[in-house]
Structure formats: C-alpha cells, structure tokens
Symmetry: C2
Subunit: 493 residues, 2 copies
C-alpha cells in the first residue's frame, strides 16, 4: 500500500509545480499538444497491467475498462488537437486609431494559464476522469502543471497511469514538476493542496459533500480560487403524454438498461422519471419493473459505495408514500448493488426533499403526477442537474412550452428521446449544470471547451509586434482564428 | 431624499425580475439589441438634467460627465451590436454519426442567460459603471433582467438614468420586471438582494471590503452564485533602466497627469512606480514632484472618499522609511484631495504590507530598488492587479524576461510605454485581474466579452431542427459564426 503524503511532500510538489509553471506556460501550443499525445501513447503502452489492476481495484469489467482507456486516449488526443487549433485562446485584436481623440491604442487579448491545478480523481472513472483524465488533459492544454491526488479506492491504477505520465514528461523533456502524483486517505492532504497559495484551480468529480468542502476551502483562502466540482445529479426524465402513449414499452426497456448500466454508477444515471398518472404510465412502470427484475446484480466500485447505496436507497424506500415496484430477482452478493425501481406520487415528491437526493447506484424513482401542471411544479422545484431528458413527440414539445422552459432552466444538457448515460467527448458537449450539479455552471468538464476552466485573459496594450507572443503577432504565424476589429478571421493584421 | 427599500420591496422586485426572465430570455438577439439602443437614446434624451444632477452629486466636472455619458451610450450601442452578431454565444454543433459504435448523437451548444442580475453602481463612474453602465448593458445583452442598487452617493443621478431605462422598457414593450431600481443606504438591502434565491449573478465596482462581503454572501447561499466584483488595484508601473535613462523627464510629466487625472479617482490610477536607484530615477522623482506641485487640487466624489483618502494617505506617509516627495502647492479645501508623491526603498516596501494597499485618490508611491533583482522580488510579492505597466525599450524587455513574466502573472492588462488610466471600450479590453483586483480573473467588466459573465452553456442532444432555437438551426437563419464539427463557419449545417 501507499503511504499518505506528508505536509512537507505536499508543499514540495506544489513548489515544484509553481516553478514548472513558469517554464511550461511559455511552451508553444504545438509542444503542449505533442506532450499530451505522448501521454496518450504511454497510457496505451501500459497494456494489460493497467486493465488488470483497475479490474481488481474497481470491480469494473474488462470490456468497460478497455473502452474507458480508449476514451481517455481519445480525450488526450482530441484536446491536444483543440489545444493546437488555438480557438480556445479567444484572441481579440483591436488595432490602434492614432487620430481618435483620445488616441485608441493597439490592444490584443488572449488566454493564459492560471497556474498549478490540483485534480482529484473520480472513483467511478478510474482512467477517464482520474489521473490522466479529462481535467488533467485540459490543464495541460491550458499550460498548467497538474498535481493529482490519487483516489484511495484505486491507488495502484492511479500509480500506473502516473508512471506513464512521468515517462511522457521525460521523453518530451518537460520541466520537472509539470506533473505530480500524491496518495492520501486522510482528507487533510486534499485540504493542504487546495489551501496552498501556489495552487490556482481545482478539478473534482465525486460526491456533493466532497465537492462542496473543496469549494468552501477554496473560497476561504486569502486568494480564493476556482473549483470545478462535478457533484452528481438525479438526471430527471420527463415522459410526455403523446410519446408515452405510443412507446411506453420501448421506453421502459431503454431505461431499464440506462438505469442499471455500469451498476448505476454514472453521474448521468437517470434517477428520477416523471409522468402523468395514466394507463400508459402504468404500462411503463410495469414493464420497467419486469425488465429490472431480469437484470443481474453486479459488484459495485468499493465497499463504501455499496454501503452508501444500501443506506440511501433504504432511506428513500422508507419515506412515506414511496412504494417498491421491483428488484432484480437474482440473489445479491455483499459487494453488489441490487437493481431497484420505486414509485411515488407527485405530491409526495413535492413534499419530501429526501426524494430529490441522488442515490448513486442502480436505482430509479418513478413519479406519478396528477397532471402536466404538477409535472411543471416538479421541474420548477428541482435543483440544478447535469442533464434532463424529455421523452416527447414534436407535438408534446410544442404543447408544453412551459415545461420545456422550466427544464432548460435547471440543466446543462437537455436530451430528447434518448438516455442521459453516455457522455460524448466533443466540443458541443456540456457536462456541467446549475449548482449543486456542479460548482460552476459556466464551464464544462467534458469536451475541449473544458480547457478554458484553467485559463484567464490578459490584454497587451501598445506592444510592438516583435515582442508579442506568436499567437498575437500581426502575421498570425500559428494560423489561428482571431477576432480582429470585431471580425473573425485567419488573416494577418 | 429617497427612502431605503424595504425587505418586501426587495422581494417583490426580484420576483418580478424572475417572471420577466422567463419572457425576456426568449427574446431574439435583435430584440435585445433594439432595447439596448433605445436605452442609449433615452439616456441621451436626459439632456442637461442628468449632467447637472451628476455634477451636484459627484463634484465631477461637466466635460468629464459629458464624456462619461457619451461613453455609456457607446457601450450600450456597441454591446448591442455584439449581442446581435452573436459570437458571444459560443455555438458548437457536432452532427450525428449514426453508424459509429455506439452511435454519436447530434449535439448543439449555446450560451443561455443565468437569470436576474443585481448591479451595484460605482461611485466614481456615476453613469458609465452605474445604473445603465457596463454591467447592466452586458446583462441585458445576455438575456438577463437587472436590478440596480443605486449608489447612495448619487441617488438622484441614478434615478434619472433609471427613469430613462423605464421609458425604454415601455417603448420597446419589454416585460415588466426586466429592470428595477432600488435605493438603500443600509447594507442589509444589498445583502437581501444578493441572498435572494432568484438572483443568479452580481456585478459590483467599488472597495475591497464591499466586494469581498458580496462575494462571501454569495458563496454562503444554498446555491452559490457568481459575483463579479472589481475591487481596485494599485496598478504598478515598472521603469526599466534604458527607457528611464532616455526619457525620465517625459515619463514624469506623463505620470503626473495620470496620477492626478480625475483627482486620482480611477481604479486604474498608477499608485506604485518602481525603478532602480540611479541618477535617472532621481531626475524622474524630482520632475514628478515638481509637476505634481503645479496640479490644482479638486473636489473628490463625496465626503467619505475624502476622509478615506486622508486617512489612508496619512497612514502610508507615517510608515517607516516612507518620505514625502512633494504635494500640490495650492492650498487644499476640505472636500478636495491633495495631489501627493512619496517614496520608499525596495526593502521598506517588501517588509511592509501597508504600502501595498490602494490609496484611492491623487497619490502615488515611488519605490527605489537597489537592482533589477529587487524589482523582480517586488513584482513577485505583489497581489493581483487590474493593470501593470512597463516603461521600457525593446532592449529592456528582451533583457528582463523574468520581470516581464512575473508581471504578466499578476495582472489582467499589461501596458507598454503608456499610462493605465483610460480604459478603451473594445472587445480586446481585459478589465479584470487576479484576486484581489477582481473576484474572477476569467472575465472582464469592460468590452463585449463582459456579456459572457451572465450566461452559461446548454447542450441540446438529438433535437429535430424545427424545435431548436434559431441560433442552432441547420440553416443558420441569424447568420452567426458557429463551430460545426470543429470548423468555424457561417455556413448552414
């Protein structure tokens, strides 16, 4: 096992990261991209050892972990491409107008890196949102060194990936300190990292309690820093009447799969399904229950997650007017999560905040509302979400504008006739929503726009062309899209 | 005089703003822009009454206030243009790839408004950064209703401008509640506004104490919200050796003007000038002192500002090893700020945090460092700043890379051979810097990029073209620049 980092070790890695920051931020976009691609190659080169170790530490199946590694490699490569394209730099150039009164100076703006970033790995994505995951890739692209706090549930997996990154650091002759990896079970290590004056931003994926604590610490610093915490979501699904009448059975089948995918251990798992009481809703509930009965339970990530699932689900089922619909018919082992569906009325839901809380695992609650107005009330009452889904015909959408607007108001991604699980890695993805889904709804943690989390603008006023960074030079040597005098162009000034 | 708003009144205006938000956010970019241009017209139509009232309440001279009104009108019109161009929406479209495994859905992302915004007016810009100022214009462009808390130092000026906005609301048939104006001397009114659950963002320009308090309240909410507080800066100026040798007298003249412009009441006033001890620096200090002796004192904004200037300046001058260089030779009246220059050694400055604090008014401190290394130490030791300025030849810049990098690290705008006062309104402007200059260095409060402060992304997954907002439709009916499958284009999908 790994020993917790000491306070001295934490201080030392942050000091090294601060030094590395002053070197790395001057590296060209191309150099950063090459480094990221090398990290991807080294990750690939970890081979079977990574997959086997991750299987042992997380109980996730081999195929899933192979996919997750492929996704992580894709992230590193595609964010490297985005880094090099440079559109994320948001370059704006306004040329001088010397004969204006007063004279207008030449001003040129671009994003620059914030400084060392601390990344807390996610237990449910031991590769894609951990050591060399999305946050790390975005920070490297932005020009920031990264200090990863290994998730204590998969320290060996994290160490293997960290060693791959160290190899990439060596091979690309990156500054020492651009990457550091610390272990820690004690929460004081996380606190020491977040409170260190040379740390300038934090990325986190995990529980509300954990994320909110980091956010509070960061805001209590002498110099508050941004925390990008993705803290989960119940991902409500709204079943609209026409659609439900025409496809109750199909929706039930699709959702039985989505709710139990990966033992329900996705932050986009649909934990709440809302419809108007009707024969079609009865059919849906019946079919969903039947389908879930056939799902075989599987082992969850670690004992803490199993315990929490049992407790939170148990508590939800104890609430007044909550009824069990169905459970998997297969006998569950101690380390497994039992697929479960429950139901409650709209009024019971509106009256009881306990039912609004995420139950992380293969569980979903179907809310039976008395009419569309009550559904709108539910939508208005919900807290911020990563995703909302509408199962709806075009007619349903047109006839329920108030609901659609209320739903837009509370989420970062709004899916029509699909499932929220499966988060595509692409520029248009928004993975982030109003609090408490995330601590900053203005940014995404998936897709190359996530690079912007770790950068801030700086404007150069009245600098001669030769002394400007390449990104801002008249001749546009990097061939980047830039806004010059309010016009987007790749042309020279 | 105006009465303080009651708790009921505060609650009522926020409720109205929340209702208006649901209507206004669906208004087209064109409708928003038309409304903003109408506000600009109504502001112009306020005529002499506005200028005379502002002169009476702020002691600012007529010419300055006419310029400030012109600037405010320019802001409203140019942000309206930017609103309509729509580049700020950061549209990303990734089209579906149905035969990928798993199939890639169609995803389209754009920015949507956050919700009602509370704006606290600035005492030093009664028009341009108050009631219809930059924050208000940005929020309207983003699609957010605005509640202005009038600055108690210019309530009548604020009321005149508010009435102009109400006229524009009527003429453009905007939803009731899109704008509200409340008076209040008691800080509890500000607190009630910031803590109201329907308020979703805050704009503020003023003191560190005020801004930090709003920031803390906002983060203590059940749902924390972003606060964009611009809290001042000492705007350090670094005199590099070759430049200083060649132009000490010219720089002194230029800076005497910048330090005392508008009685030193700009957040970009240069409050700290740093050079290496030398004959040229002596010449500079001597000439700066001489020039400041000739500046006639003028009335400051309000008695609180005069009092604070006297106290903070007095305290700075009492510090060990701080020496008075010169004061204006004209006798100062009770409501006036006395132009003053002081000096201290680099080591005295490094040892004494009191000297790092902003003295709001016509005062600047010249730091005599023993060598360039000490200047770098000073730069590294300084807190976040709105601006830093380098007075330097190209040789100076090339030979002092460490200093230049340290300076970039602490500011939002870096000026070469100019003065920091004078903040151009254009897209390339960055008015915002690392804490404590502002609470969020990733955003600007001047220039149309300020619109993004009040918006967040939302992704539409798998929506048919007809049901998408116009901004995201295949045919690009608004003719906006969009990133489609990683390519910036104005073409249709």
């Amino acid at each position: 096992m790994f020993k917790d980092a000491t306070t001295d070790e934490v201080n030392n890695v942050v000091q090294q990261a601060w030094k590395a920051y002053h070197v790395y931020r001057k590296f060209s976009l191309k150099q950063r991209a090459q480094f990221m691609r090398r990290v991807a190659m080294e990750l690939e080169a970890c081979g079977e050892a990574l997959i086997q170790t991750a299987m042992g530490e997380t109980n996730l199946p081999e195929a899933r972990l192979r996919n997750e590694r492929a996704r992580t490699i894709f992230q590193l490569n595609s964010y490297a491409d985005a880094c090099e394209r440079g559109e994320w730099l948001d370059i704006r150039i306004d040329t001088a107008i010397p004969d204006k009164n007063p004279p207008k100076p030449d001003i040129r703006k671009m994003l620059v890196p914030l400084g060392p970033v601390v990344v807390f790995g996610a237990s449910n994505f031991p590769i894609a949102y951990s050591t060399a995951g999305g946050d790390t890739a975005c920070a490297f692209a932005a020009g920031c060194p990264v200090i990863v706090k290994a998730h204590p549930a998969h320290p060996n997996t994290s160490q293997i990936v960290a060693d791959a990154i160290f190899k990439a650091v060596d091979k690309c002759i990156m500054p020492e300190g651009i990457f550091a990896h610390v272990h820690g079970v004690n929460f004081e290590i996380g606190k020491a990292l977040v409170m260190h004056p040379y740390v300038k931003a934090v990325g986190f994926t995990g529980s509300y309690i954990g994320g909110k604590q980091l956010f509070d610490w960061a805001n209590q610093r002498k110099e508050p820093i941004p925390v990008f915490a993705e803290m989960g979501s119940v991902n409500p699904v709204f079943l609209l009447p026409e659609k439900l009448r025409s496809a109750a059975a199909d929706i039930a089948k699709m959702y039985a799969g989505s709710i139990t995918l990966g033992v329900g251990q996705f932050c986009t798992k649909p934990g709440l399904i809302i419809g108007v009481e009707s024969g079609s809703l009865q059919t849906f509930i019946h079919d969903l229950g039947k389908a879930v009965q056939q799902i075989t339970p599987a082992a969850m990530l670690h004992p803490g997650i199993v315990k929490s699932y049992k407790e939170k689900k148990g508590n939800a089922l104890l609430q007044e007017e909550v009824h069990l619909v169905a459970e998997s018919e297969t006998t569950v082992k101690e380390n497994e999560g039992l697929p479960t569906i429950a139901t409650a009325s709209g009024s019971a839901f509106l009256d009881n905040p306990v039912l609004h809380q995420e139950v992380f695992g293969p569980y979903s609650l179907v809310i039976r509302c008395k009419d569309m107005n009550e559904i709108i009330e539910v939508a208005k009452y919900l807290e911020g979400q990563l995703t909302c889904t509408l199962m709806a015909t075009e007619n349903d959408i047109r006839q329920n504008e108030m609901l659609v607007e209320a739903v837009k108001n509370i989420c970062g991604r709004i899916i029509l006739n699909g499932v929220p699980t499966g988060v595509e890695v692409c520029l248009s993805m928004q993975h982030g929503g109003p609090f408490p889904a995330t601590t900053d709804s203005r940014f995404t943690s998936v897709g190359a726009d996530g690079i912007k989390r770790f950068a801030r603008p700086i404007a150069f006023q009245n600098w001669p062309n030769e002394l400007l960074p390449d990104e801002l030079k008249n001749e546009n040597p990097l061939g980047i899209w830039r806004t010059i005098n309010n016009e987007l162009t790749k042309s020279a000034v």
